[in-house]
Symmetry: C2
Subunit: 309 residues, 2 copies
């Protein structure tokens, strides 16, 4: 029952001289999504953004930029290459490609090293590792081109490992439903006014996209005991306007460990159960300050039986 | 320059009715070692034990049991299978096969799951995971057969990650020599009276075997910046007679993080720089109590440039 929840992610910004990404239409994005072995399940739209819920995560498309996250053993790098090949070099203003460290990296179809080797044939990028190899870490590769992000351009990612408690238990149960999950996650409170599109997988697993004006939030739950992983990501200004969102999710899901990654925002959480074990705050040459905070809990874990064939 | 220091390990005990393992001679053990893609570099012997220094780690052979550790991308499971095929089932009293979590598991030739699938065709074993998947963990597979260990049968393993300080710097330098390393590691003090056999690899990297009567100690240093790893293992009674050995090594090598694994011994270290983040103490059905203690340091790490081709 192992499923790799940990995502690969790409965010690409094109210039105003490039065609509107939304105007490329669903067939274009279907091809992009197919390249990494995912499919579009459904979508919602508003004036600013099209949000696609994927068989393995999410895609958000605005006029001149998009964000795509995929998990499992998807090959997001193939989607990135396909996209790059359809645009003029000068039209691409920013590319940030991320891989979170995986539970079982040996099951992936490519390594980060292989991914960036093939990206490097199409652009001139630089790559970094945030965090130590022996614990949580994150790889990032970005186009090495100065880019000036808008003042209100923030990204916050919350990556939760080993969720615990009664809500985690519900998320592992059969016959769960989206309405109940929305309520348990307090979306009405933490994402007021957002339009929500979600999906419950069989036998469990949950994906959610939410949009409001140009803002998005997305959440993906892999509840499997021993390898649970939940990610939440948003471009809301958490530091100044919505400081309670991450605290609320951490209280709900009681993760054993969690990470926060941010671009141009300063993470802040209140937790008495976790210690900030590693912290990276670094400006990238593409114009963002990237932060990676690793919070762990002091634990006593049982011996876990490993299933034999 | 990446090298996977993290070891696979096997310890097998045969019955008194089986041939003496030492009497099988070097050609037998050369074949065993070749099966996992290593070679014997040199050996030392005393009345009780033959200690082979390998191109990738170590092998210790007593009359009726042996311990073999191999690192890099060696396939220790192949050696284990070769050994099993040469003995009667009833002659095998205990088999404990371990894999420490690797820095880069996707570079390994087989996964733990694949290893134990093939072992399970030759014996009836059980497998466990100690620690959480997202941080340090250890896999163990053992023959599911009651075994009564001697009262003084202890194993202690110290696994150190990200070594720091001036001695770590020396270990990364060129033109280092074994004599200087022995002195820096205080072997005279921590292993008094032991016969030592060691080897300095090019451009760096160090392996050491030490024996005294039936006691052994072995140390393997992979000093590479960003992926350094040092292991020390012994069957000395650390809890009661040699409590300072691990403290001494930790003070010398200043690891960012470290684990202690023990069989039938209770780990104890003094460290003000590390927090005990996870602890597993569990009896195994093969007669040993296995312990896994994970110590981490609170850190602020820089962004690490990832080398592009």
């Amino acid at each position: 029952m192992f499923f790799e929840g940990s995502e690969k992610k790409v965010e690409i910004v094109v210039s105003k001289s490039a065609p509107s990404l939304r105007s490329l239409g669903q067939p274009f994005w279907e091809e992009m999504v197919a390249k990494c072995n995912a499919t579009i399940l459904s979508s919602i739209s508003n004036d600013k953004c099209d949000a696609y819920l994927l068989s393995e995560s999410s895609l958000f498309v605005w006029e001149h930029h998009f964000v795509m996250l995929t998990c499992g053993t998807t090959t997001l790098v193939e989607s990135v290459k396909t996209f790059m090949d359809k645009f003029e070099k000068e039209q691409i203003l920013s590319v940030i490609f991320q891989r979170k460290n995986e539970y079982q990296s040996h099951l992936q179809k490519s390594s980060f090293e292989q991914d960036i080797d093939s990206l490097q044939k199409r652009m001139s990028g630089v790559a970094y590792q945030l965090g130590n190899l022996d614990t949580h870490h994150n790889y990032v590769y970005h186009l090495d081109k100065p880019y000036v992000a808008d003042d209100n351009d923030y990204t916050y990612e919350l990556l939760m490992y080993h969720i615990q408690g009664s809500i985690a238990q519900y998320l592992r149960s059969e016959n769960q439903n989206a309405q109940a999950i929305r309520k348990l996650m307090n979306f009405e409170e933490i994402l007021p006014g957002f339009e929500i599109n979600d999906f419950v997988f069989e036998p469990f697993g949950y994906s959610m996209n939410a949009i409001k004006d140009g803002f998005y939030a997305t959440m993906h739950i892999t509840p499997q005991e021993d390898s649970s992983y939940v990610s939440f990501e948003t471009n809301l200004d958490l530091a100044n306007q919505h400081p309670h969102i991450f605290n609320n999710l951490i209280a709900t899901l009681q993760p054993g460990n969690f990470d926060i990654i941010s671009f141009n925002g300063i993470p802040s959480v209140e937790t008495i159960n976790h210690l900030l074990m590693n912290q990276v705050d670094e400006p990238l040459s593409c114009g963002y300050v990237m932060r990676f905070y690793e919070y762990l809990q002091q634990q006593t874990t049982p011996l876990r039986a490993y299933k034999l064939k």
